[in-house]
């Protein structure tokens, strides 16, 4: 049931994993989306109905495992069951003829033998109080493993719950040369767990000194594929004297006190200076552009609120530019061999004076007028590194000063992770034991003209008959006549 319940989460985009997909779904299906949202299909794994299913499942799990643990605990301390009267009904059964001499010793010999093989044994008297049969059982570990497995699953769930509650993760985009401080104001976005408090953040600062990317230029079929990303960072924990330098790679996060620092993305940040007609600087800095393709064609937004007339730029950056037959531009290669910046200009209210938070990567052009590029009648701007071009109207000039790279970093802390791992490994060990250790009962009983052997397995046991055969051979090396009834 949990399996079926998890399916919709892979069909519909999920807010936690793919927020843009959810937005796109709302745009594409304006009627259907709110209905789906009402039944939480965009948040399946945190939805009330999904939680209800797994909480019920785990309650029943606890309700089943605890009594079984008690039963098993009792079984562990009690002797094997009495030998049944008729052994020939068992799934594996042998009758062996033996001399009176062998008969005398066979019970003790088999008891010793079975004990050596790890069985728990009990010698049982017959009618005349002399030892008449051995009852043996092994494989208690099978049930132990099974219980460990189920208890560990409960452990995993608890660790996931508490770990998630205590966890936090914060994201920050850093351009080369910039630094950030590990506090709530230092992050671009932050997602805390339920029990998070700000004093959990260990005060440290991290600066991005340099960011390097290697793209493949050598192999024809692989041109432009990224081979390695390296973020060179300097971290300084408050209270420690010397700053530390380190390299963060995709699979190599940086361990900091109380958290880990991961590299999650990268791109270009063109450095621009915008001046008004008098030459006063109205905007200056390196702005991160979001990569739109594998060849790093990137999209950036620049907002200039402090000019006489507010305006904004929507810009495309091509690291190695090429023109398609249609006249559209594209990027051929992700490294900046022939970088070009193109811009469309919009004038009007940027919408940021109202105080409401706005996405820095998007420009709301609904109350703005396009004055360059598109259908405005004025060509869009094109700049190479070092060039300065005039903006339309009285907006001034823009200069493409240089190119930097940025890295997206993620500071994450989840104390549950280690416990989830410990419990999952325990669960794995438990399930392996419970599936592979055979549990069986074996009986050896005196018969009129020899002795009888029988075995019964609980669960799957491929070797039941072989076990009896081996046992018979050990007890009576020259057992000539074997009569098997299976």
């Amino acid at each position: 049931m949990l399996a079926v319940a998890a399916v919709p989460g892979s069909v519909f985009p999920q807010r936690s994993a793919d927020p843009n997909g959810v937005t796109a779904y709302f745009d594409g299906n304006p009627q259907l989306a709110p209905i789906l949202d009402a039944v939480q299909l965009f948040d399946v794994y945190t939805s009330a109905w999904f939680s209800a299913i797994y909480i019920l499942l785990f309650i029943s799990l606890i309700g089943c495992v605890l009594p079984r643990t008690a039963v098993h605990f009792k079984a562990l301390r009690s002797a094997p069951v009495d030998t049944p009267r008729s052994l020939s009904r068992m799934p594996a059964h042998l009758e062996i003829k033996a001399s009176a001499k062998t008969r005398e010793s066979v019970i003790e010999a088999s008891a010793a033998l079975l004990k050596r093989q790890g069985y728990r044994i009990q010698i049982q008297p017959g009618l005349d109080d002399t030892p008449a049969s051995v009852s043996a059982e092994r494989g208690y570990l099978r049930e132990t493993g099974n219980l460990v497995f189920h208890l560990s699953l409960i452990g995993v769930l608890i660790a996931v719950g508490f770990g998630g509650g205590l966890s936090y993760s914060g994201q920050r985009v850093l351009v080369e040369g910039e630094s950030f401080v590990n506090n709530l104001a230092g992050f671009d976005s932050f997602s805390p767990g339920t029990f998070f408090t700000e004093d959990k953040l260990v005060p440290f600062s991290v600066s991005l000194d340099k960011f390097e990317v290697d793209f493949d230029l050598q192999n024809q079929s692989n041109i432009g594929t990224p081979l390695d990303f390296r973020a060179f960072v300097t971290s300084q924990v408050v209270g420690e004297t010397a700053p530390r330098t380190a390299v963060i790679r995709v699979n190599e996060p940086l361990e900091l006190p109380g958290s880990k620092l991961y590299l999650t993305g990268n791109g270009y940040a063109p450095q621009l200076t915008i001046r008004d007609p008098e030459g006063n600087i109205t905007y200056q800095g390196a702005t991160p552009f979001l990569p739109q393709s594998a060849k790093y064609t990137s999209l950036g937004v620049i907002k200039v609120p402090d000019a006489k007339q507010q305006f904004g730029l929507i810009a495309f950056f091509y690291p190695t530019v090429a023109e398609l037959e249609t006249g559209a531009l594209t990027s051929l290669y992700p490294a900046p061999y022939d970088p070009l910046l193109t811009m469309n200009v919009y004038v009007g209210d940027l919408g940021i004076d109202g105080g409401a938070p706005k996405n820095v990567y998007a420009l709301d052009t609904s109350s703005m007028k396009q004055v360059a590029g598109g259908k405005s009648g004025v060509k869009g701007l094109k700049l190479q590194v070092g060039q300065t071009v005039k903006l339309p109207g009285e907006l001034g000039t823009v200069t493409f000063d240089g190119l930097k790279r940025f890295a997206s970093l993620d500071v994450s802390y989840n104390p549950g992770g280690l416990w989830v791992l410990v419990f999952s490994l325990l669960a794995l060990a438990g399930v392996t034991t419970s599936l592979l250790v055979p549990r069986r009962r074996v009986w050896v009983k005196l018969a009129d003209e020899g002795f009888e052997l029988a075995a019964l397995a609980r669960g799957d046991d491929p070797t039941l008959e072989k076990v009896l055969g081996d046992l018979a051979r050990e007890l009576k090396p020259k057992s000539i006549k074997k009569e098997s009834k299976a």
């Binding site: 936690s16 290697d214 024809q220 794995l428």
Partner: protein, 304 residues
């Protein structure tokens, strides 16, 4: 500066090996199929001449496996890494593991009767891989550059191979116990019934299928854990309900259900065999549809 040497010519040679292996698999498949149809014959003379065909089939299957293995190794050398980083490579490596496990198991247990299925299945997988999934050698994206690629994916391949054989036995079991097969008067079904009569009895098949599936389940659990450890390093969280993670979990619960079914009276037999088949269908779905059409982080097909 990181650089990597890829060898597309060698990858081309590897592809030739895979195609050659497909030819031999075809021959093996035909031998096994003819063998079965002969065994099902009502004439005694025809039946007694069948075992030669079977022996020829097994020899052919072994030859195909060797050529197939060479193709897999060459693919790895041409990419200078393990040959299981995209759908094409996963398919050729996975089907090689299937045939290897089958041949090894053959030495221990007599499971010759699903040889037709194994040869046919591998032919199908390689055919799909060569025509649909083929991509030239590529380097690994940085997120995949980890020793966990070796552990996580290799164990996933192994688990899939065990589930595959388990499912094959479950399918045979379903046919064998099906009422319509037993009662139908159609001539074709009657022939089919005689083929099924050659298979081991129902209990034996059920137990064999169960054994392959429990090993698959243990390996699958390990895949899940190893994947979470890797995700914690590469994607900064151990579990994020990524589509592939979701489906891996779904498959795990289906097989957990299968194990419970086998331990529950009244649910073993046909119902659990169906669960084993459903589980394997989910694996195929996870590998094909989820890889190609769903959005997520595990999109490594290399296809556009």
């Amino acid at each position: 500066m990181t650089s990597i040497a890829l060898n597309p010519e060698l990858a081309g040679i590897s592809r030739l090996f895979i195609q050659a292996a497909m030819l031999v698999y075809t021959a093996a498949f035909l031998s096994f199929a003819f063998h079965l149809s002969k065994l099902a014959s009502t004439k005694k003379a025809v039946r007694s001449s069948a075992s030669k065909l079977e022996r020829a089939g097994i020899v052919l299957l072994a030859i195909a496996a060797v050529i197939h293995g060479a193709g897999v190794v060459l693919r790895g050398i041409s990419a200078s890494r393990v040959p299981w980083a995209n759908m094409y490579e996963f398919s050729i490596t996975g089907s090689f593991v299937v045939v290897s496990i089958f041949l090894l198991a053959l030495a221990i247990k007599d499971i010759r009767l699903i040889a037709t299925f194994v040869a046919g299945f591998n032919l199908l997988i390689l055919g799909t891989a060569d025509t649909v999934f083929w991509v030239n050698v590529k380097s690994l994206m940085p997120a995949l550059q980890s020793y966990w690629l070796v552990i996580h994916v290799l164990v996933a391949v192994l688990a899939t191979a065990f589930f595959n054989i388990g499912a094959a036995l479950a399918i045979a079991y379903i046919f064998k116990t099906a009422k319509w097969v037993e009662k139908s008067k159609l001539k074709m079904v009657a022939t089919f019934r005689r083929i099924l009569a050659l298979f081991p009895n129902e209990d034996k098949m059920e137990r064999l299928s169960y054994r392959f599936n429990i090993i698959g389940f243990i390996l699958w659990s390990f895949t899940l854990i190893a994947g979470a450890i890797w995700a914690e390093r590469a994607w900064h969280r151990y579990w994020g309900w990524d589509t592939k993670e979701v489906w891996t979990f779904i498959i795990w619960t289906i097989y957990a259900g299968y194990l419970h079914a086998n331990a529950t009276r009244g649910w073993s037999g046909k119902r659990s065999a169906w669960l084993a088949i459903v589980g394997f269908v989910a694996i195929l779905f996870n590998f094909t549809v989820v890889n190609l059409f769903f959005k997520g982080l595990h999109v490594y097909s290399g296809l556009k």
